[in-house]
Symmetry: C2
Subunit: 191 residues, 2 copies
DNA sequence: ACCTGAACACCGTTCAAGT
DNA sequence: ACCTGAACACCGTTCAAGT
């Protein structure tokens, strides 16, 4: 005897994202998600294999949203040097807006199962600016340098690792400007 | 009626570090730690307030060890430019050696309670090389740029975020060399 | 075909009782 | 003074039984 669905995968993932941001990853429990969508915990297993898969879907949604923000920011800044600065600030702004989601996405060794296509789209704008700045030969190296710095800076900032005082805003701008200069194509001396 | 101690805080932290590396953070349970030191779980609460404190102590031990490695590597490389490269490679080497401990230490938003003194010592060698390279005015900014890049690079590497092929070794060396150049003091144009 | 209560294994943590 | 079993609240997950 078929029954009308009382929830959906989209609703479940949305509930997971809300709980992540309000209660932290520890508060993202199957029971809390179930309560939020008006169902009992065992019912979630009809849409999701287990909690790990749900957490991965939440992270994937975050990656997609971050990628859209970066794309939107890149559009309308034709100059590559200026665009790198805009991308860096947008990346950091998103992390401040959704710190828990950002932490989840960039936690090292997290065993997340993310769709490669979503990841590709999320990093496309950074790769594009790297191609323009440093030329095709070192584009991948340059993109990885940029992504590593931005990710590392915001991760350390969010975890309170910058404890020696000073102006964090200024440190970020310093890094962004120095990187934009450093990644620009240089004459090739053979390495 | 006093009883001879059957374990110690040092033994407990050591057991925690072993479990972290072999079983992951999820395998670092109070019961597993207790079993490893030959005691029952409730006894651990005589030495440690709760699991969160034990995890913080494990992370702190990691920070201390990493700092020692960096100090040892810095000693004996007087040239600042070369020393930055050595420090970066040592940092990455340690992360590869103890990936789970590294991940724990640098997980953003982890709520770890770390001794500020241990953290200061762990970052001292990076700060010193930044002072030498970029002068006192921008030393803190430069150190943060360097630490952010190194941390971000290794974090992304460990979480498998570099999925576009290419030579990761080369990307690391590229970043290290470009940063060493970029952080060197430049004439001050007023910003 | 979806939803549920009951059950299981496993956590962290507390505490009275042992020695 | 340390250690323990028992107990509690809370997880994730499975499954037979309901509709």
């Amino acid at each position: 005897m078929p029954t009308p669905d009382r929830t959906s995968l989209g609703e479940i993932v949305a509930a997971g994202r809300e709980l992540l941001e309000t209660e932290g990853l520890g508060g993202l429990t199957m029971q809390a998600v179930a309560a939020r969508v008006g169902v009992r915990a065992p019912s979630l297993y009809k849409r999701v294999r287990n909690r790990a898969e749900l957490v991965s879907l939440v992270a994937e949604a975050t990656a997609g949203e971050l990628g859209q923000r970066l794309d939107a920011a890149a559009t309308g800044t034709p100059d590559a040097h200026a665009r790198l600065l805009v991308l860096a600030r947008t990346f950091r702004g998103y992390a401040h807006e959704r710190p828990a989601a950002f932490s989840l996405l960039f936690t090292p060794g997290s065993e997340l199962a993310l769709d490669p296509d979503v990841l590709r789209r999320a990093s496309a704008s950074m790769l594009a600016v790297a191609v323009e700045l440093s030329g095709p030969d070192h584009a991948l190296d340059a993109a990885r340098t940029l992504a590593a710095w931005a990710n590392g800076f915001v991760s350390m900032e969010l975890s309170g690792a910058f404890r020696l005082g000073g102006d964090i805003e200024r440190a970020f701008e310093f890094g962004a400007h120095r990187l934009a200069d450093a990644l620009a194509a240089k004459p090739d001396f053979g390495n």
